[in-house]
């Protein structure tokens, strides 16, 4: 019997259309738009000006404070502008636009495919390399990795958990990374273990990625302290709290971080980026992105430079299908609908999903029949039906009492509701208001 988390969860159809597609390098685009706020925390500050000539891998924006991340140029060329641009959701944000000229990389970056596994750097040095490389959580949360790797004084890390769950339907980028870059990922895991000073790491992978599990198990057989575990498929297992419960049966308290139970969680693609930063001196300037959708001609996994327009990826995968109604950045459960096909790929973009008319049309919502399916689906043990009513009626003392702030917006409730009620839409509204009220009180 494979392990999984205990409270709630749903089983959306996997639709991993591109799981057999090898990672292909996407040709360089003509121009890239590199946002300076690709991470949680303060946007980085640009250190280049219009007209500057940059190389791939060159620092173009400096982290602004501790919870922030450096941004590097992903291409070589001339800086066209350092103004803002409108992001995928329609908000304006600062970005550097670079016209691509050739493909010249910064000296010192090792672009060979050779697996380097001799970790000679000191702990401090590794952390500095990771900080300099601008690495952020690549599963989608984009929290700066060096912050996660610097646990607050007094806390003790016992286990490193590597997130290879990829529980979002459709997405296969982590799957392909685990399969094709297994050796590199494992060196990344060892580097992370060294930084954290732990001798135990668990790589959690859902059982629908059998080949990746076998590959990793084959390689870790001889490694001390790294264990690969297969988990039964259930959404949202890739969420930190659920993954920790499934992997080592510990419960992270409400609104606390994994460090509270002695755990640090890192995504597999992040582990790969850490490997490249430490062993190859390569900053985070490219990533694997899944381009997928039921109507798409050639769903696939592409290695592309940060700042590449989404449209370039869609073109590579066979062009925008006629019946596309939504373009999602990320997976279908938690991804964001994009406003603009030219929005750039960022450090947190794990996938581009094209949703067709059939899948993307919401059915009209009807009255709640109190079937309690949302309650059984909620992985945080909340009552979505009740939170929706409170949010709708503006009863924010109720939303706070019923722990609306525990909601991680995984969408299991809306996905499940037989009456098609927009549960999460209202809960988000209530969460925003309740959060503001709590903040005001402090």
């Amino acid at each position: 019997m494979l392990g999984t988390f205990t409270i709630g969860g749903v089983h959306p159809p996997g639709n991993k259309l591109s799981s057999e597609e090898k990672i292909q390098a996407l040709p360089l685009p003509e121009r890239v738009v590199i946002p300076l706020g690709q991470h949680r925390g303060a946007p980085a500050t640009a250190i280049v000006a219009k007209g500057d000539v940059v190389k791939a891998g060159q620092l173009i924006a400096q982290a602004d404070g501790f919870v922030s991340a450096n941004v590097h140029s992903s291409v070589s060329g001339t800086v066209a502008s350092v103004d803002g641009y409108i992001d995928a959701s329609g908000f304006s944000c600062p970005a550097v636009t670079i016209n691509v000229e050739g493909d010249i990389w910064l000296d010192g970056i090792d672009r060979s495919k050779k697996n380097e596994c001799n970790i000679i750097q000191t702990k401090e040095n590794i952390l500095k390399l990771i900080t300099d490389a601008g690495i952020v959580g690549m599963g989608g949360a984009t929290f700066p990795t060096h912050v996660k790797l610097s646990p607050p004084a007094g806390s003790k890390v016992e286990v490193l958990i590597i997130n290879g769950v990829e529980c979002e339907p459709y997405l296969t980028s982590d799957h392909r990374v685990m399969l094709e870059r297994a050796e590199d990922v494992l060196v990344g895991v060892q580097i992370l273990m060294k930084v954290l000073g732990v001798n135990r790491a668990i790589i959690g992978v859902e059982s629908n990625k059998k080949d990746a599990i076998e590959r990793l198990q084959e390689l870790t057989g001889r490694m001390l302290g790294i264990e690969v575990i297969s988990m039964s498929v259930k959404y949202p297992q890739g969420s930190e709290k659920q993954l920790i419960k499934a992997a080592i049966n510990r419960s992270v308290p409400s609104r606390a971080l994994p460090i509270a139970v002695g755990v640090v969680v890192q995504n597999v693609s992040t582990a790969l980026a850490v490997y490249e930063a430490v062993m190859k001196h390569k900053p985070l300037i490219e990533r694997v992105v899944t381009v997928t959708g039921k109507s798409l001609k050639k769903p696939g996994n592409y290695l592309c430079r940060i700042g590449t327009p989404t449209s370039a990826l869609i073109d590579a995968a066979g062009g925008l299908p006629e019946d596309t109604v939504k373009i999602i950045g990320g997976g279908p459960m938690m991804g964001r609908a994009m406003l603009d096909v030219n929005a750039p790929i960022t450090k947190g973009s794990s996938g581009i999903l094209l949703i067709n008319t059939k899948e993307g049309t919401r059915k009209p919502s009807t009255t709640c029949i109190r079937c309690a399916k949302c309650v059984s689906a909620c992985p945080m043990g909340l009552e979505p039906y009740l939170l929706m009513v409170y949010s709708e009626k503006g009863m924010f003392e109720g939303t706070e009492r019923e722990r609306i702030m525990d909601c991680m917006e995984c969408g299991s409730c809306s996905f499940t509701c037989p009456a098609n009620r927009p549960l999460l839409d209202y809960i988000r509204l209530g969460k925003a208001r309740t959060g503001a009220i709590i903040k005001d009180r402090k």
Binding site: P12, A337, V341, R370, K373, G381, Y385, T416, D425
Partner: protein, 331 residues
């Protein structure tokens, strides 16, 4: 160029719908319906049809002309109320009586509270209890089942539970009464399991009802919590009484297999709208139904207590929902 839709996540849906769940319940009721036709003949069909048609028509008329809303009769909930109402009456009940019952069930218990999702009490049970109080004689004269006897003339007799009531009131040992009158009423446990016993249309075959339960669990229409806690409570409570005074209280298996217990536990107590939302609340709801059923059966004025027990516990649902929450992450 495509026009893009911008909406918050999630961007996919399970495809589950109210209709699918309601028709799923109807499918789960089919085995019990077949059994009732085998044992009670044409009467079972005509009564069930009358009840279903009345419920649907009343719902349609009330929504359209009284509430002036878009009728939602297609969702299948009125069909279920109709079937369950018919399943809870003797097969020789005059047809006009069940029409009255349907009016009370749909009009009073469901629509006057605001329709599907808003009612506090199970509509079919409100209809049944209304008929029980208004037409006590007709509602408690059960024809004895006779397999494949499609005739209008039927012999009537007491149900197993009515015999039990008699034992309790007269003070005669239960087994004496059951062995004299019980043969007629069909008191072999095998017969009780299969359905060869006196009773209402849909409640006679525990096995057919359990098949429906299995189907609903497989399709994830309901969860196991409420039915299982009812069965366990009745078994334990009746079992303790039986151990204390075996001549006065019959063994718990009899309680489980007789009357509307299985029908009520599986199909009525699990009604979405009128049962609790969280597992802990569901357990307590089930325990309450189980205890009240045994208490009413043994010490009350009516031989059967399932309907009353469920309706009483329905009234506690808002409280149960308020005080019993799902398992959460510790603060």
């Amino acid at each position: 160029m495509n026009t893009l839709t911008i909406s918050p996540s999630p961007h996919i849906h399970s495809g589950d719908s109210i209709k699918k769940n309601m028709y799923g319940v109807l499918i789960a009721l089919i085995p019990a319906f077949i059994c009732s036709v085998i044992f009670f003949g044409v009467n079972a069909i005509t009564l069930t049809l009358t009840s279903v048609i009345s419920c649907v028509i009343f719902e349609y008329l009330i929504q359209k002309y009284l509430l002036k809303r878009q009728p939602t009769t297609v969702d299948g909930s009125a069909l279920i109320t109709g079937v369950l109402l018919a399943f809870n009456v003797p097969s020789n009940l005059p047809l006009w009586m069940i029409v009255v019952g349907a009016l009370v069930a749909i009009g009073v218990a469901k629509m006057s509270f605001g329709g599907l999702g808003c009612n506090i009490f199970n509509p079919a049970l409100v209809g049944r209890v209304f008929m029980l109080i208004t037409f006590p004689v007709q509602m408690t004269t059960w024809p004895l089942p006779e397999a494949f006897a499609f005739t209008a003339d039927v012999t009537t007799g007491a149900t197993p539970l009515a015999l039990l009531q008699e034992a309790f009131q007269t003070g005669r040992p239960v087994y004496e009464i059951l062995s004299v009158d019980g043969i007629k009423a069909g008191l072999d446990y095998r017969d009780m399991l299969l359905g060869d016993k006196g009773g209402s249309i849909g409640e006679i075959s525990a096995l057919a009802l359990l098949a429906g339960f299995g189907y609903m669990l497989l399709r994830k229409i309901i969860t196991w919590h409420i039915p299982v806690s009812i069965f366990a409570t009745v078994y334990v409570f009746a079992g303790i009484l039986h151990l204390c005074e075996p001549t006065l209280y019959i063994d718990p298996v009899f309680h489980l297999l007789s009357g509307g217990l299985v029908l009520g536990a599986i199909f009525m107590a699990t009604d979405y709208v009128t049962s609790p939302m969280c597992p802990k609340g569901m357990f307590l709801f089930g325990i309450g139904v189980g205890l009240l059923t045994v208490v009413i059966r043994l010490f009350g004025a009516y031989p059967e207590g399932m309907s009353f027990a469920i309706l009483i516990m329905n009234a506690f649902v808002p409280l149960l929902n308020r005080y019993f929450k799902p398992q959460r992450f510790k603060k």
